[in-house]
């Protein structure tokens, strides 16, 4: 029995090394079946490199406004109030909420950039985002119309440029 435990431990250790080294494997391995399985396990185990990609260092900002009661309401920031609440009070829920919103809005921007706004509007991520925006940021009241703005920071010029903007009647 002890020998069996030793062998299983050894095998797990070897697989650890393979999983941990996944990011440094050549592209052909990453595209293979073994590579995809390793990537999946890598994600489940939480192996990852923090902020090693330029993309993860991109500063973004999002805002929205609703058209209801016959007028456009003032534009509101989506992420800053949540993050500022976390900063001020240490409320982890606000931080998690901020991460969720940030993930959703970045998701629709990715699809819009790749496939255009029309395709984005047909996607599941888009439906999730709009549904979440109405539920969490408008007390689940469906507005007549809404507009979303997504900005990306240009570090060199220290400016923000509008990367995505759309209006929709939900």
């Amino acid at each position: 029995m002890k020998r069996l435990i030793t062998i299983v431990t050894g095998l797990i250790l070897i697989s650890y090394i393979l999983i941990a080294g996944y990011r440094f494997t050549p592209p052909f391995f990453k595209h293979s079946f073994a590579g995809r399985v390793t990537n999946k396990v890598n994600g489940i185990l939480g192996f990852g490199i923090l902020f090693d990609k330029l993309k993860s260092l991109t500063g973004t900002s999002a805002s929205y406004r609703f058209y209801q009661d016959g007028k456009w309401e003032e534009k509101k920031l989506l992420l800053e109030p949540l993050f500022n609440d976390y900063r001020a009070t240490g409320n982890l829920t606000s931080l998690k909420h901020c991460r969720l919103d940030s993930h959703l809005v970045a998701g629709i921007h990715k699809i819009a950039k790749r496939n255009g706004i029309e395709k984005m509007k047909q996607s599941k991520v888009y439906n999730e985002f709009i549904d979440h925006l109405i539920y969490s940021h408008n007390k689940n009241i469906r507005p007549d119309s809404l507009e979303v703005f997504y900005y990306i920071k240009n570090y060199d010029a220290d400016t923000m440029h509008l990367a995505l903007n759309f209006k929709v009647k939900p």
Binding site: M1, K2, R3, I5, T6, I7, V8, T9, G10, I12, L13, Y16, I17, A20, G21, R23, F24, G43, I44, L45, G46, F47, G48, I49, L50, F51, D52, L54, L57, G59, T60, S61, L79, E80, F83, Y86, R87, N91, L92, T93, L95, K96, H97, C98, R99, L100, S102, H103, L104, E128, D131, H132, Y135, S136, K153, Y155
Partner: protein
């Protein structure tokens, strides 16, 4: 091959962990999950609503929470889940309770879907491993060897995590030049300007900080196994992870990593937690 396996087996058997390490490690891991679950409570409706739009329920234990019948009772489910966690802090050696905690942990990951980070994945992995770890294993027993094997696997996992991060960083020019911090300190929703001192924006200090991080991540997995280096490395590591938790707004990730340090710490030997007599000597 047989000789190698014998040596490896001896290493596992002799690399014992005190009960105090196991008990505190378990308490801290479960407490962190409980804290995260309590924090999420005020917004549970929002997270649950979002989670059921991407998940479907089944009679598998970890997906019970998404069954349509539970849609009206998810707050009660969350309350019971928190109670399970509180119970697990006090009841020892109850494997069913440990399994229930793991199911709760998966529920948490599903509920906080898309708002999770690698800290949640790591915590879930630790909770899974803790199902099989048993406090008070008797000397020379199989249980003690299983404990050792699992806890060594967690330690090695942790060291590999550092090594892969160190390699991942050192191959990036952004890290080698220290410019990473120029971006990171301006990164919205991560960098916490309330705590970042002004002198952290100095390019020379950014360069020094970047290399200090990479050197630490390289030397920790190598030197932590040698007793004279343990305490200084653990002290630096705790500062490092608290720094990540506060400055980069990753409190759950930073705390999870810091909790793993309990396994590396040598608690002062007392008759209660001294298992050294169970170590199998080379002559055996």
């Amino acid at each position: 091959m047989d000789r190698f396996l014998t040596d490896f087996q001896k290493y596992i058997e002799n690399h014992f962990f005190y009960d105090k390490n196991i008990i505190w490690f378990r308490r801290c891991v479960y407490s962190l999950l409980l804290i995260k679950m309590l924090f999420i409570w005020p917004e549970i409706s929002m997270f649950y609503r979002h989670a059921i739009s991407v998940r479907t329920g089944s009679f598998m234990p970890h997906k019970l929470i998404f069954l349509p019948i539970v849609h009206h009772y998810y707050k009660l489910y969350w309350f019971i889940a928190c109670l399970i966690l509180i119970l697990s802090l006090f009841y020892k050696k109850n494997r069913w309770l440990y399994i229930a905690v793991f199911i709760v942990s998966i529920n948490y990951i599903f509920i906080a879907n898309k708002a999770t980070n690698s800290g949640d994945g790591l915590l879930n992995f630790l909770i899974f491993m803790l199902i099989f770890v048993r406090e008070g294993a008797s000397k020379y027993s199989i249980n003690q060897m299983i404990n050792n094997a699992l806890l060594i696997l967690i330690q090695v996992y942790f060291c590999l995590f550092y090594l892969s991060n160190a390699f991942g960083k050192i191959i990036k020019p952004l890290w080698r030049s220290g410019d990473y911090f120029k971006h990171a300190w301006n990164l919205y929703y991560y960098a916490n300007p309330s705590f970042i001192p002004h002198w952290f924006f100095n390019p020379t200090l950014q360069f020094i900080t970047a290399w200090s991080v990479m050197i630490f991540e390289f030397i920790f997995p190598v030197l932590i196994w040698f007793k004279p280096y343990k305490k200084p490395l653990l002290a630096i590591g705790i500062l490092f992870h608290f720094g990540i938790a506060i400055l980069l707004s990753l409190p759950d990730f930073g705390l999870t990593m810091a909790i793993v340090y309990i396994l590396f710490y040598d608690f002062k030997q007392t008759p209660d937690n001294d298992l050294s007599g169970s170590a199998i000597s080379d002559s055996n």
